[in-house]
């Protein structure tokens, strides 16, 4: 590695986040007297990363394009609540979960399209638009459709799918734990996001638009179309993630996603995405989600009171936003 490349690496937020993660793992590992490194605990933490990690991918691509999506949890919640309600009423998803997923993805795509249509056509501030649609979607779910919690009546195929596992691990005490099948989807989504962002012209378009929208237009990108597609896809993927969460928790709760954006967005910023767009990587985002999940799931292990959870998450938000703002300032000078 030459000097210039080294310098570039050390200037990236991702690099420091990764160091922080390594240090955290070491510290928690030592304080918990090795408990953290038990196979069962590793599986638990990886499992806990699935939903947040997948949402973070959605959030990342939007932030790379210079936007803010506050509505993805609301889209997910409305999509899966609607999908499970329909499946329940129609008696679907008794043998295969596909119908549930398909419905949720379609609903998510439609809601995302609505975001995309407003954002690309009226050139409004994405944060305000999605904040509006978020409230609107929640209103539709709670008020208009009166969607209710579905717990023990959840269609069996969805429950079964959520309980299915990839492999089983046994820890030193003989305790067994299984790795949920859903983890595959996290890996796939990260891989696909990384591929799209780095290896496709669409992904480069997102970086270009995030870097300089006017230039992207002049360079020949169809900015309007790109944004529309982006928000539609993010909506569809959010619907899919929502269904994953339903299967994992064996229940469909319309409110389960409320305020999720306030933990995901700061995490993505912490992972190196810029609040001004054009920056961010899958690696950094996964690292940041890793940090947050690790801490939230190890506090008791190392004997820290649950009271501190909000303190910690608030700190993450502050650090993430400050780092991003400082970098933007440094760039300006």
């Amino acid at each position: 590695m030459n000097k210039a490349a080294m310098k570039r690496m050390t200037r990236r937020t991702e690099f420091y986040m990764f160091l922080v993660l390594i240090i955290l793992i070491a510290v928690i590992g030592i304080v918990s007297k090795g408990s953290l490194f038990e196979s069962t605990q590793i599986v638990t933490i990886l499992r806990a990363m699935v939903v947040d990690g997948m949402f973070a991918m959605c959030c990342l691509v939007v932030m790379v394009s210079g936007g803010f999506d506050m509505s993805f949890p609301a889209i997910a919640a409305l999509a899966y609540s609607l999908a499970t309600t329909i499946c329940l009423n129609q008696g679907w998803c008794q043998t295969s979960p596909i119908a549930g997923f398909a419905l949720s993805i379609v609903f998510g795509a439609i809601l995302g399209m609505f975001n995309g249509w407003i954002i690309s056509n009226f050139k409004l501030n994405t944060m305000l638009v999605t904040l509006g649609t978020q409230t609107f979607f929640t209103g539709v779910s709670m008020g208009l459709l009166q969607l209710r919690e579905i717990t023990s009546t959840l269609p069996v195929a969805l429950k079964k799918f959520g309980l299915s596992s990839l492999f089983e691990v046994t820890n030193s005490a003989g305790l067994k734990s299984t790795m949920t099948t859903m983890f595959i989807f996290l890996v796939i989504l990260c891989a696909v996001t990384s591929f799209v962002l780095n290896k496709t012209m669409f992904g480069r378009a997102l970086y270009a638009i995030g870097g300089n929208e006017v230039s992207a237009e002049r360079a020949g990108y169809n900015v309007k179309k790109t944004k529309f597609i982006l928000y539609t896809v993010v909506g569809a993927v959010s619907g899919f993630i929502g269904m994953i969460r339903v299967c994992m928790a064996s229940q469909s709760i319309p409110k389960a996603m409320v305020n999720k954006e306030f933990t995901i967005i700061p995490a993505v910023i912490l992972g190196g995405a810029s609040i001004f767009g054009g920056e961010g990587s899958v690696f950094g985002t996964v690292t940041a989600i890793g940090i947050i999940t690790l801490v939230n799931n190890s506090m008791l292990l190392v004997g820290i009171d649950s009271y501190w959870k909000d303190f910690f998450n608030g700190l993450i938000i502050l650090i993430g936003v400050t780092v991003s703002a400082l970098q933007a300032m440094r760039k300006k000078h």
Partner: protein
């Protein structure tokens, strides 16, 4: 042109929101058939902790049924915040106080936050009745299916039965600031210390499930990792037992680790039947709500409220009164044998 479309869009969205809001209020507002003659009826507002959750939906249904039955006497509006949010709840209560209802019934997300508005309500002559908020001062009465100590002891007795009265256990609460949950946990621990000398609380800190089964699941796994000999989980929130049960089931620890909490039959039915859970505790919150409403009517009519009074529901035929707290005998142990008798 685009600006106009954008503006229209915003308007449509705004109307949509208002429409949703109205819709909400309309369906929840269980008016008597002759609402115009409302003057003679007792106007009661019922503010739950949150709307859209199975537990409170069930309470809502109970309130609705009661309202239908008593439509000649009272007019009831059931409305709560859309998320567990103390400020939003106080805002709704303030609305009702300003509208000039006769009775305000509620279950506080944060009792302290509700004191001020309750004081105002009482100053205006409104009867204030709460539940799960026994520590409040600015109320007329607080109705409890049992007192906190009673429920805590009940949960511990049941857990001790499962654990064979010995072994390590932890406590789990829905939120670190949820007063009732913490009181139950405290009472349960006291009960164990008094009656079950062979049971040890290994984690002196309360474990928070954030009232989310997924998090209860993660916390359970974390605790089992930390305390390999863990035998019991004393939960409080209705998400604790289902979440813990899923972790116990997945880890293959059925019969080795036991969990209990207050829980909805619908969410624990499968686990009770498969044996992962043995017993969960519950009271019938709809019955408690109806008791609150019955009490409201009695008070509005000017009847004297004293210990031993019959509040018209099973378990509340002769209630105890401790200061401002009315305590019934409404604890229910739900097992695989009786779970199917509950429709919620």
């Amino acid at each position: 042109m685009k600006k106009i479309i954008a503006l229209l869009l915003v308007l449509v969205m705004a109307f949509g929101l208002i429409a949703c809001g109205n819709n909400n209020a309309n369906t929840d507002e269980t008016k008597g058939t002759e609402a115009t003659k409302g003057d003679e009826k007792i106007k009661i507002a019922f503010v739950p902790k949150v709307e859209g959750q199975a537990w409170w939906d069930y309470v809502g249904a109970g309130v609705k049924a009661w309202a239908e039955e008593h439509k000649d006497v009272a007019e009831v509006v059931y409305k709560g915040p859309t998320e567990v949010d103390a400020a939003a709840q106080v805002a709704i209560m303030t609305d009702f106080v300003n509208q000039g209802v006769d009775v305000l019934c509620f279950s506080a997300n944060d009792p302290n936050a509700c004191e001020e508005i309750c004081k105002q309500a009482r100053d205006k002559g409104i009867i204030v009745i709460s539940t799960e908020s026994a520590t409040m001062t600015n109320i007329d009465y607080d109705v409890e299916a049992f007192n906190d100590a009673g429920l805590g002891a009940f949960l511990m007795d049941e857990l001790a039965k499962m654990m064979g009265e010995e072994g390590e256990y932890i406590t789990m609460v829905g939120s670190m600031t949820m007063e009732s949950h913490n009181n139950w946990a405290d009472a349960a621990v006291e009960q164990a210390e008094a009656k079950y000398p062979n049971m040890t609380l290994v984690e002196d800190k309360r474990v928070s499930s954030d009232s989310d089964a997924e998090i209860a699941y993660n916390r359970t796994k974390e605790m089992i990792q930390k305390y390999p000999n863990l035998k019991g989980i004393l939960g409080t929130s209705s998400f604790d037992a289902p979440g813990a049960a899923r972790a116990i089931d997945e880890l293959g620890l059925t019969g080795k680790v036991f969990a209990i909490s207050v829980a909805m039959p619908s969410e624990t039915r499968d686990y009770l039947k498969s044996g992962v859970l043995t017993t969960v505790g519950l009271w019938d919150p709809a019955v408690t709500a109806k008791v609150m409403l019955n009490l409201a009517v009695k008070m509005a009519k000017g009847e004297t409220i004293e210990a031993g009074i019959d509040l018209g529901e099973t378990g509340y035929e002769a209630v105890k009164i401790e200061g401002k707290v009315i305590i019934g005998d409404g604890a229910l142990a739900i097992t695989k044998d009786n779970v199917d008798t509950f429709t919620f």
